[in-house]
Every structure is written in structure tokens, then in C-alpha cells.
Subunit: 186 residues, 2 copies
């Protein structure tokens, strides 16, 4: 941020009086521009035991696999956002189910919120941000080519809960960009 | 938003190619400025059966009661943000416990995430954003003067879970600013 979005003047990066973090402050109109984490919403869509996965057509992690997920928009609920992302990225209509995972992705300034979901019909396709979309059984999931740690975490917890039959909300946090080797533990 | 924060030119409000919502777009450098929901983090701090509440010193809802809660910051986890807000607003150190509630506050473009917490010692005070801070037993809580529906929801679910001894994650959504009468149902 270089300019004030309210008046167009140059901003300065300073700690405002009474605050504890530096913010972008307009030297002319004094507006303080706060920057806060964004919410990523997604779901694990299931159809007859298989999971709907998308191969990313965009950076970051182009060519790697993910569940349908993306930035939550103003004016929608978490569930509505997760369903919308699935429609956009996988051209698939889902019924959003219970809350699956909440992941702090600290270095990216993001909170990932993921739900269980049911694919209503085996109808899907590659949206503009996907190269390929398909249904995969647990043993077919390309674990070594998953796009993000939070996605691996959500998928593994989804599958382990399915085995036990107990649906819980899983939480974890990641901080640091390095992710050399997807672990069995997620 | 009137000006581009990258180059200072005037922005236009248009739907970008391939998008479905209007965004602020810079006519000069073409930067698209997305606006997304913000995360509010808070906790219900308990000490010997009583709940720590704060009377708000700032708008909105100045003079009404809340649990310690505020905007999540970049670079922190949900739990760390909830503990920080408690320190800032109630000058109290807490141990953050399990996830209590996730509330979509659609009209405010916010997601509220609230945790259970334990106040380590009965030491607290009014931070800059609080007029008054105190420990209240369930029957002493000023239910008709609670600041926000999400806070009422979290407090009621906290207390009902305490009675059953089963800690679960509660979710709900509010859309619309009207809140005439705090209900017993939250």
C-alpha cells in the first residue's frame, strides 16, 4: 500500500497512538488502513465414497490438487461461500454438511474453514481455475501432489472420521512456507 | 474506496472479466482491490464459575456488555488473537481452551470465532476500549444489555454446555442489523 484509498495521498507506515502494530496511515486525511487475515472457505465433496478433487490451473501451486476452496466474499455465509467455490471450480452442486476443519495459515494471513459436503449428482467439470476435476477413492488420492498442507489436513481428517463414524471439528495451525514432504500425519 | 492504493489513480467499480462481483479496479495500473469479510476473535473467560465481561467504551454499542473480542491481526492464530484481545480489553491473562462458536455476521462482513478460556488469576481491569470489567455469575449477566447477538449466542451456548458437561462447537448466522429483543434462544 502506497496511497490512501480515500483521498489519494501518500500513506506512511507507523504505529497509531494507542495501537501496538504499524498501520498504513494517510498523512492528509488521517485514515488508518487496517489489513487483516482473509478467510478461505472450502469443502470435501463426496459422491458414493469418492472425493471430488480439482487440479489447479492458477498459481500458487499450479498443477497440484486441491478440494474446491477460495476466498470468502462479503455478504455470504461460510457455507454459502464453500458451495459457491465448488460450483465455480468444479462446476458441481453440493449440499454443505458439518464443519470439518479450521486451520490457521499464519504466514499467508489466512484462516481456512472447511466443511463436509455431498455431491448431489456425479456431474462436474473443470471451472476456469481448474485444469481437471475428478472423483477419487481414498487410495487414488494423489497425496504427493496435494497443493496445500491445510488441504491434506482436511482430507486426512475427513477420511479418518469417516472410518470412525464420528464427525468432529479439527483445528491446527501452520506457520512458515516450507513444506518439503507431505507427512502421513498431515 | 476512491483511489488505487498502489498508484493513487481513481478506481472504478466494475465486474472484472471472468468474475461475478463488482470490484474496485484501477483504471491506470489495473490492480483489482478485493474486499473480504474480517475475522473477529474472542473468548469467554471463566474464573471460579464466573464470566469476565467488559462494558464497551467505544462505538458501536458503547455502554453495552461483551466478552473480550476484536479484529484478528495478520501474523497471529485465532487462539493468540483471542488471548490478545482479552489482555487489551480486560487486562487479563487467559488460557485459551476449546473452540466454542463460529458465527457468520453477514451484514457486517464478519465471521466471529469464539473460544472457551480460563482466567488464570482474578486480576483484570478496564483496557482503553472498556468502561468497566467484572466477573459475573450466570444469573448476574446483564442479558438485556449485551452488545451483539453473536456474544449472547456464545454466552448462552457456553453456559448450556457447562451444564451438560459436553463441549461442542456451535455455529449460527445472523443477517440484518435489527435486533429488537434479545431472545432466550440467542
Amino acid at each position: 500500500m502506497k496511497f490512501c484509498s480515500q483521498c489519494g495521498s501518500v500513506v506512511e507506515h507507523q504505529i497509531p497512538p494507542g495501537d501496538h502494530l504499524p498501520r498504513f496511515i494517510c498523512g492528509t486525511c488521517q485514515t488508518i488502513h487496517y489489513e487483516n487475515p482473509k478467510v478461505i472457505v472450502g469443502c470435501v465433496p463426496e459422491y458414493q465414497g469418492k472425493i471430488l478433487l480439482c487440479k489447479r490451473a492458477i498459481e500458487p501451486r499450479l498443477g497440484f490438487w486441491t478440494i474446491p476452496a477460495g476466498f470468502m466474499e462479503n455478504g455470504e455465509t461460510l457455507e454459502a461461500g464453500a458451495a459457491r467455490e465448488c460450483l465455480e471450480e468444479a462446476q458441481a452442486h453440493v449440499s454443505i454438511g458439518s464443519l470439518l476443519a479450521i486451520v490457521d495459515v499464519v504466514h499467508a494471513h489466512q484462516v481456512h474453514v472447511m466443511f463436509r459436503a455431498k455431491l448431489e449428482k456425479p456431474e462436474f467439470g473443470a471451472g476456469a481455475e481448474s485444469l481437471e476435476v475428478g472423483l477419487y477413492s481414498p487410495e487414488e488420492i494423489p497425496w504427493s501432489d496435494i497443493a496445500f498442507r491445510s488441504i491434506e489436513f482436511a482430507l486426512k481428517r475427513y477420511l479418518s472420521d469417516r472410518q470412525t463414524g464420528i464427525e468432529t471439528v479439527h483445528t491446527t495451525q501452520f506457520n512458515g512456507k516450507v513444506w518439503h514432504q507431505p507427512s502421513e500425519e498431515g
